[in-house]
């Protein structure tokens, strides 16, 4: 007999009424069969998301094996030249964009809510949409290989190799449109993760008690917000160049291929850390659990994570050391590249110290972690080597770099992810993977990996270049390549064993796991169901389960916050971002078809664009927009219930307007993405000017008069004013005044957006003639694009207003439109100042 729990200090009194649990179960009951497509619950989406990422890993890995088979012996002809190029491009792209980033986000979708004891992430439909868009887009991308129209310009797609002149087919378009749109899914996930970590923590989990993994995900999501827009802008520019001949990257007309490299690597280097930091976060959670003691230097590790996030943005040019950039500029990046290894070192020391001081449990995860430490440290050392500029000139584009990058990527993320797979598997459905198979898998992967990639350092130093499909037999590389190929197959066999192990479990052959099998200290080990934990625990430390051995039982009996579903629907507690005090009860959308259809149609739209069915693409495009309307229509329900008791004396409202609302936060993060994209366009403008000032207008004659600048800017300012008036009208429930102000404002914005290209056409500027024309029209198009979005968003607000769903006490939708609107007006003014004043002031 276990003694009854002492209820005096607990948030809710025990025992709980029986109906409470039933209501909770009913609200969170998953749909079955085809209904799976409608599902939004993070437990289900997370698993499908991880599964898809693993599938894409296997596909990309298979391509690598074929490449290795081709390279096993000299002058081989398994793959021809052009097919090899497609293979390494799809392999690299697939691994980076369709496996590595998605899987760390997928693990986050699965793991974060349970680590935060939230019932779900704040925007469940958004993560489901991101998943479906990713699945359909990814499948289409791989299918391009079957038709031999896969991109072949490398995963970094450097122009001019990828520009129309040298890649006339649709191969490059597949990359640009396919990947460009999967980035959007990554950004959707990032918004979800940021708002989730900041706003849906359990009561008491103040800033200092956030688990390291959540910090690492916060940093990763923040990095996505500031890095991905650069590659989205780059792909948009290249696609526009290919489709309309606007010369952004064509040197003869004032463009510059280096612009691509800047934008690409401004994303591409942080990308490596976007992949690595979440993996490091996983390690920082597994190490304490396996060593049975708190992580040594926790605060330092958190600072190191955030610092790495920042510093890694200062590294992009180290991929461009061989492009003729001035020496002092290079040395800034060389210095930053070496500096960034310090925070990584801090983490490695924290892990080793914790492992050394604790009583280590020897699980499969432990082995994978040790393998990770070994490989990652080796990869870090070769990284410091290539950060030395003269060495980089020597090793650049040789197999040494291939070896380095796989040591870092496979050591830094694949091994921790596999460790995590074994470690957190029991939280899935209470079964364990096989320790024996897992150990075999580890050794085959570890040995196979080193046998495959260590020799590449040597062959690289012996002069073997990367991205060659074959080589003559008399250069002394034969044995090294044969060994590499054998190693790659051994490693692949190890991966296969893991898949077999997972399949065994799926067919019911897994061992039942005890509750909390590794005796870990964090919340995800409290038994879970579709509704997450029965009640949301009050947190008092970093390892709540170690500090309160009763916690798990208290939570399961419903003694903590929100033990039921008081409003009879899916909901979770929103807490304040620093002190994690309960603020309101967030209703969560349930299963629905809309986000699934939106994902499907968005993918279809982009695929039509890629194969140049421009008119046909309009159909799925319109359907996708319609689905999104359907999706958001049922959100923003207003305060349809009185404030509810969640326990611990907290009585919280079920609706909050203004800047506390979670969707307001989501919109704010989205605008950070938008602002970064705009900053990239401004950078493009200034960069193209520094490289080809000769295509900029020499005097003011060729420029439109200043009257245009003042007139258009005035339109944007007045449009912003109209929005502020509309906002006042909402507050006073003057619906017609609001509708009028919105319409007038929209017309003013349309006029402003059209006036700019109109006056440029009038002054004789042609976009395809020079890089100057191209970027000026690009900035103007960017504003037009925003106004089109605002027409849709304002249309939604108006429709809601007519349906009686928008008024003074239910205005979250309106406030979000207002944010985007005001941002657009501000951006419009800045854009005008740049394009009208810069050529007048520049020397």
């Amino acid at each position: 007999m276990t003694p009854p729990l002492d209820d005096a200090a607990l948030p809710n009194r025990l025992p709980r009424p029986k109906e409470e649990l039933e209501a909770l179960k009913r609200a969170w009951k998953p749909t079955s069969g085809l209904g799976l497509l409608k599902e939004v619950n993070n437990n289900i989406i997370g698993v499908m998301y991880i599964g898809t990422a693993l599938l894409f890993f296997v596909i990309s890995g298979t391509l690598a094996l074929v490449m290795r088979a081709q390279l096993a012996v000299p002058e081989n002809d398994v793959l021809g030249h052009s097919l090899y190029n497609q293979f390494f491009t799809v392999h690299g792209t697939g691994m980076m964009f369709l496996f590595a980033v998605p899987i760390v986000e997928a693990i986050g979708v699965f793991l974060l809510p349970s680590m935060l004891a939230a019932r779900d992430l704040p925007f469940p439909r958004l993560s489901a949409f991101a998943f479906w868009a990713y699945l359909f887009g990814g499948l289409a991308f791989f299918c391009s290989l079957i038709f031999e129209v896969a991109p072949d310009g490398g995963w970094f797609m450097y122009p001019p190799l990828t520009s129309m002149k040298f890649s006339p087919g649709i191969n490059a378009d597949f990359w640009l449109l396919g990947i460009g749109f999967i980035e959007i899914s990554a950004i959707a996930g990032a918004i979800e993760i940021i708002v989730g970590i900041l706003r849906t923590r359990p009561p008491g989990m103040t800033l200092d008690k956030i688990p390291v993994y959540c910090w690492s995900m916060l940093v990763m999501a923040g990095m996505i917000v500031f890095a991905f827009p650069a590659v989205i802008i780059a792909t948009a520019l290249l696609e526009i160049e290919r489709a309309f001949d606007w010369p952004f990257f064509i040197a003869e007309r004032g463009g510059d291929p280096l612009l691509w490299q800047h934008l690409f690597w401004f994303f591409g280097h942080p990308e490596v850390y976007i992949i690595f930091l979440p993996a490091a976060g996983l390690v920082s959670m597994m190490v304490p659990a396996l060593a049975q003691r708190p992580l040594i230097g926790h605060d330092w590790v958190v600072v190191a994570l955030v610092g790495t996030g920042f510093f890694s943005f200062g590294l992009w040019v180290h991929h461009m050391f061989a492009t003729g950039i001035p020496p002092l500029s290079l040395s800034f990046f060389s210095a930053a590249s070496m500096a960034v290894s310090v925070p990584a070192g801090i983490q490695v020391f924290a892990w080793i110290a914790t492992l050394g001081k604790g009583r280590l449990q020897w699980t499969v995860a432990t082995w994978f972690l040790l393998g990770f430490l070994f490989i990652f440290v080796a990869g870090g050392l070769t990284g410091v080597m290539v950060a030395v500029i003269p060495f980089d000139w020597q090793a650049h584009d040789s197999y040494f770099v291939v070896a380095h990058l796989h040591y870092v990527l496979i050591g830094g993320m694949v091994f921790p992810v596999f460790a995590g797979l074994y470690h957190w598997w029991p939280t899935l459905k209470g079964t364990m993977l096989s320790e024996r198979l897992g150990r075999w898998a580890f050794w085959m992967m570890f040995i196979g990996f080193n046998v495959a990639f260590f020799p590449m350092h040597v062959s690289g130093l012996m002069g073997m270049p990367r991205r060659v499909y074959t080589y003559p037999g008399d250069l002394g590389w034969n044995a090294l390549n044969m060994v590499s190929t054998v190693g790659a197959f051994v490693m692949a066999f190890g991966v296969l064993l893991v898949l077999i192990d997972m399949a065994r479990d799926a067919f019911g052959r897994g061992r039942p796991a005890p509750e909390n099998p590794w005796k870990a200290g964090t919340l995800e080990w409290i038994p879970n169901d579709d509704y997450a934990t029965r009640s949301i625990p009050h947190v008092r430390s970093l390892y709540p389960l170690w500090d309160n051995p009763n916690l798990s039982r208290e939570v399961q009996e419903g003694a903590h916050y929100l033990p039921g579903a008081p409003t009879r629907r899916r909901e979770t507690i929103v807490t304040s971002p620093i002190e994690a005090r309960p603020q309101y009860l967030m209703p969560m959308p349930g299963p629905h078809w809309s986000h699934f259809l939106a994902g499907l149609f968005t993918a279809a739209h982009f695929i039509c664009l890629a194969v140049q069915l421009y008119w046909v693409s309009l159909v799925p495009g319109v359907l996708a927009i319609a689905s999104v309307f359907w999706w958001v229509w049922s959100l923003d329900r207003g305060a349809d219930h009185p404030p509810q008791d969640v326990g611990g004396g907290w009585r919280v409202p079920v609706y909050l307007q203004g800047s506390e609302n979670h969707s307001w936060w989501g919109t704010a993060v989205l605008l950070l993405v938008d602002g970064t994209a705009f900053a990239c366009l401004c950078f493009t403008y200034v960069f193209l000017w520094t490289v080809s000032p000769d295509v900029w207008p020499a005097g003011t004659d060729a420029l439109p008069g200043l009257g245009w600048l003042f007139g258009e800017a005035a339109l944007w300012v007045v449009a912003a004013g109209a929005m502020l008036l509309a906002s006042r009208a909402v507050a006073g429930n003057r619906s017609w005044a609001m509708r009028g102000a919105l319409l007038v404002g929209l017309l003013l914005m349309l006029a402003a957006a059209v006036a700019e290209p109109y006056n440029r056409i009038g002054s004789g500027l042609v976009a395809s003639e020079s890089a100057y024309g191209a970027i000026v029209y690009m900035l103007a198009s960017w504003q037009v694009f925003h106004v089109v979005i605002l027409v849709l968003m304002t249309g939604l607000a108006l429709a809601r207003s007519f349906a009686g769903r928008l008024h003074a006490r239910r205005r979250v939708t309106f406030d979000n439109v207002m944010l985007v609107w005001l941002y657009t007006c501000g951006q419009g003014v800045v854009s005008l100042l740049l394009v009208h004043l810069f050529p007048r002031l520049a020397v």
């Binding site: 600072v303 510093f311 002092l328 800034f332 930053a336 971002p577 620093i578 520094t690």
Partner: protein
Amino acid sequence: MEKTAFTATFTGMMSAFLIWAAHFAAVYGINGLICAREWDGVELYGHPVAVVLILGATAIALLLAAGVLAAALWGAAPGRRTSEDPRRFIRLFTALAAAGSLVAILWNGLPALQVPACG
């Protein structure tokens, strides 16, 4: 009320890293511009213009980061309006970030003394 506290606190915690980022962008931009415009022959106070501007920017950034460090150590750090629990962490975070950024800024600025600007 906590919303404003959050924005201010969070920006405060990140301020040293943001100073680093601004410094980095500034020195890279300055040098890029000077070389692209072929102004590297110009002198300022008897030294190459790139060196003077970059060292100047570095000095300013170092002062700012040192200010953040001092504020964190003497308790004027962000988070004053929050309860004792997270405050200790916020101060430690700010101080460590400032110390790290100080070193990183110095390390980034020093090459200006040795490496020719445009070569």
